[in-house]
């Protein structure tokens, strides 16, 4: 994980949100002072070239410093290939969840990118031409060294954005808990056990944050009980988080993960907010 990202890649489409996404990318380019590569899946003809040219001009990007790569074939595979060959650090794409006609096809491109990109990925749920920036950050942790790096990196990002809230969440889940509580007789119940587990976990989480020595924006910690990956997704959605940062480095996705979603797959399937997958 490099930060600030040196090279941004944008999966550029002619969809209704394509231009807003380009404006968001331009803002991030300026924030990180990075290079930019636009990847467009489609045939390179005069009309398309003119269209992209206009988009670049209107966005305020300098044409000469903006590299455009045209790819044809399976969009997701081609975008992933360019990301790798061009050493892109952060690949940006739209979720397009709100465009019914394109939803299935393009939605599946975004999901493949999220699962398989070699670089970090930022999926912007509802890009805006105003590109106001991210003010409310949420990061999930499992205490691993990778997740430590994700928090540190996201925190630097939050500082650059002048964010006003930085929340670290930790999911805990104990399958079979209610039956085990019943096996213990009537003296304890699942909810008591959950609250004990949550208290223990919050103490650890506070210690974890103390160890990270984050200075600038006050950090809020939340210990959530629920299916791993789902509870945090739910929290992000219900708390108007601007950007949810997760560790994508240790996770490999298999067929069964999609059939029986767990952890990050919940957020990939149903975006809770803008999603930053750090690798």
């Amino acid at each position: 994980m490099h930060f600030p990202f040196k090279k941004l890649g944008l999966a550029l489409t002619f969809s209704p949100t394509g231009f807003a996404l380009l404006k968001e990318t331009k803002r991030l380019k300026e924030l990180f002072n990075s290079e930019i590569v636009l990847i467009h899946s489609g045939k390179k003809d005069d009309e398309s070239e003119q269209k992209i040219g206009e988009m670049i001009d209107n966005s305020g990007l300098a044409k000469q410093s903006t590299e455009i790569i045209w790819v044809q074939g399976n969009p997701a595979n081609e975008i992933l290939k360019v990301t790798k060959s061009k050493n892109v650090d952060l690949l940006i794409a739209g979720a397009l969840e709100k465009e019914p006609v394109l939803k299935y096809y393009l939605g599946s491109v975004a999901r493949k990118i999220m699962r398989e990109a070699s670089s970090s990925v930022l999926i912007i749920e509802s890009p805006s031409e105003a590109a106001a920036g991210f003010k409310k950050f949420c990061v999930s942790t499992d205490y691993s060294q990778d997740s430590e790096s994700v928090i540190k990196l996201s925190y630097q990002f939050a500082l650059m954005e002048n964010a006003h809230e930085f929340i670290i969440v930790r999911d805990i889940y104990t399958p079979g808990l209610s039956s085990a509580a019943m096996e213990s007789g009537s003296t304890s119940n699942a909810e008591e056990v959950i609250s004990i587990f949550q208290k223990e976990e919050e103490e650890k989480l506070n210690m974890f944050v103390r160890e990270l020595n984050l200075k600038g924006i006050p950090v809020i910690v939340k210990c959530l009980y629920g299916r791993e990956g789902w509870a945090e997704r739910d929290f992000v959605q219900n708390n108007n988080i601007d950007i949810f940062a997760v560790n994508g480095k240790t996770k490999k996705f298999y067929f069964f993960d999609r059939l029986f979603p767990n952890e990050l797959e919940f957020s990939i399937k149903h975006l809770p907010s803008n999603l930053l997958i750090l690798r």
Partner: protein, 555 residues
């Protein structure tokens, strides 16, 4: 057939007596730290032909008549109880946990089925009379049954054991739970196939039943599961809680049970699979599961377990040889099978054995399996009795064996070593850290310079003074197990504690680089021990290592 007024009186009296005895003896067993189910079965044995029936046969036959409407009504309740028990067992199975734990859970689960199954099947197929076969024409089904009876695991007992041992939320805990879930699904699937081999198939051929079984399972787990996940939030929002969702769960469970019974597989399989599909929903609240558990565990489960004791005479049907063979095969098969699986998946020897013994609990699931096989005429009463005994012994013995193999638990008090408690008189924090590092390094044969550098680097980034005279310089270093050294310093040293107090008790904590969470857990444990300033001040009065450790343990 209609129940007469006298029948109704007898029926109500018998279930009251069953519930009363189950509750009394079940609670007693809970008090002595054993599963209530053991007490409930013993209550049944006392109420049944074994004790009560032998002593007062007339009263026994009046209370539990063998061939009138009361018997039919009791059987109906017991059937309902088994269906609901399997429904709640399914609710607790979480396929995403199985998928997440991946290779380890899969290998442990698969080996935990293959080895005991192979042992049981071979013995029963080649020596069927040794294991008390009832009908020689059903040799294959009998051998398959014995195989599967040795392979099954009981998730609730396993989870309870993990909770008692405090390893519910650890890596081993997750592996055991995931493997047990996998084991349950495969076990019940195979058992259903066996039942369809011997049972009434409602006019379907065996192949038809098999195809229907597979199609039904896939439909429920892949398609219906997603639909249920969409319906539950609507129910929780628009109908009364918990009534709406409870009704929904029971209706689906019963419908599914009815369907599998219709296609020639036992009803319990339908309720189990539907339980899995419902329990998989991320919207199901823990509270909902708990309410269902409460009403099934307190009413229906005791009736079922007491009815086990009413079914057979445990003394006349006790056959030492069968009990011994089943017990030995059950232990060897499961412990070795799961142990090998866990070892293949990368766990060390002790952890693998702990996983093996953890998975060895058979609990209620074995008893349900046994009673069904007995009712279908597949096994003789003495095999059933042996299975009940095996279920009880494996459940009760699981925790002590696991505890033995997990004896090196990484908690604060186990890590403390008396020869690493020093009484010092330093004035500088670097000096005290150096001395503590030297002592640990000498003790564990480590490179003290390297460790000292890492501890100081950590100390310089954020000072580790806490409050109440405590400081915890620490680092994650190249060691395999955590280590602690303590200095009780005569004078306070400034570690920039939050309360401004100079630190007098300095804990050096070293943890393995790969175990981030362990470091946090130990730091929290130490800090929690120092919350009460008065107790810490008393601790400072200790003049020797023994006093300090004993006071620290009791603080």
């Amino acid at each position: 057939m209609q129940l007469t007024s006298e029948n109704i009186v007898t029926f109500l009296l018998s279930i009251s007596l069953m519930l009363l005895s189950a509750k009394l003896i079940g609670e007693l067993f809970n008090k002595i730290g054993q599963p209530a189910v053991v007490g409930e079965i013993i209550a049944g044995i006392i109420l049944g032909p074994t004790v009560f029936g032998s002593l007062l046969p007339h009263t026994y036959n009046w209370l539990f008549p063998q061939n009138n409407g009361v018997k039919v009504a009791l059987d109906g309740i017991v059937n309902l109880a088994v269906i609901m028990l399997l429904l709640v067992s399914g609710l607790e199975v979480d396929l995403s946990v199985v998928v997440k734990e991946g290779k380890t859970a899969f290998l442990t689960g698969v080996m935990g089925i293959i080895i005991p199954f192979a042992l049981g099947f071979t013995a029963a197929y080649f020596f069927p009379h040794l294991l008390g076969i009832k009908d020689d024409n059903l040799k294959l089904a009998f051998a398959l049954f014995i195989g599967i009876a040795l392979s099954i695991s009981a998730l609730p007992v396993i989870v309870k054991t993990l909770m008692d041992l405090g390893i519910f939320k650890t890596e081993i805990g997750y592996i055991i739970v995931a493997a047990a879930m996998f084991n349950d699904i495969v076990g019940w699937l195979i058992f259903s196939i066996i039942l369809s081999m011997i049972g009434a198939n409602n006019g379907h051929t065996f192949n038809q039943t098999l195809i229907l079984l597979i199609a039904f399972t896939l439909f429920v787990l892949l398609i219906l599961r997603k639909i249920i996940n969409k319906i539950i939030p609507w129910i929780q929002k628009n109908l009364n809680f918990p009534g709406g969702v409870l009704n929904f769960i029971l209706i689906l469970g019963f419908l599914s049970a009815a369907f599998t019974e219709y296609i020639g597989i036992h009803a319990i399989f339908g309720s189990f699979i539907m339980g899995i599909a419902i329990g998989d929903s991320v919207h199901i609240k823990e509270r909902t599961k708990e309410i269902i558990q409460q009403f099934i565990t307190n009413i229906f489960a005791p009736l079922f377990f007491v009815s086990i004791g009413l079914t057979v005479n445990f003394i006349t049907n006790f056959n030492f040889l069968i009990v011994a063979v089943i017990l030995i095969f059950a232990f060897f098969g499961k412990v070795i099978g799961c142990g090998i699986g866990a070892r293949f998946a990368g766990l060390n020897k002790n952890d693998s054995l702990a996983v093996g013994f953890g998975m060895n609990s058979r609990g209620a699931m074995e008893i349900i399996l046994g009673i069904l096989a007995f009712q279908y005429g597949l096994i003789h009463a003495n095999v059933f009795v042996a299975l009940v005994i095996m279920a009880l012994v494996t459940s009760v013995s699981s925790a002590p064996f696991m505890k033995y193999f997990l004896k090196v638990k990484e908690n604060l008090l186990n890590i403390l070593s008396p020869n690493l408690v020093l009484f010092t008189n330093f004035t500088d924090k670097n000096e005290v850290i150096k001395e503590l590092v030297n002592q640990v390094s000498k003790n564990l044969k480590l490179n003290s310079d390297q460790i000292y550098r890492e501890v100081i680097e950590r100390e310089n980034s954020i000072p580790t003074g806490i409050a109440n005279y405590l400081a915890i310089p620490h680092a994650r270093v190249d060691i395999s197990r955590p280590a602690i050294a303590i200095a009780i310093n005569k004078k306070g040293i400034d570690f920039e504690a939050s309360d401004g107090t100079p630190s007098r008790i300095i804990f050096l904590l070293l943890t393995p680089k790969s175990k981030n969470e362990l470091q946090l857990k130990l730091l929290v444990e130490i800090v929690n021990k120092f919350k009460d300033k008065q107790k810490v001040e008393q601790l400072l009065l200790s003049s020797n290592t023994t006093d300090f450790i004993s006071m620290f343990k009791n603080s």
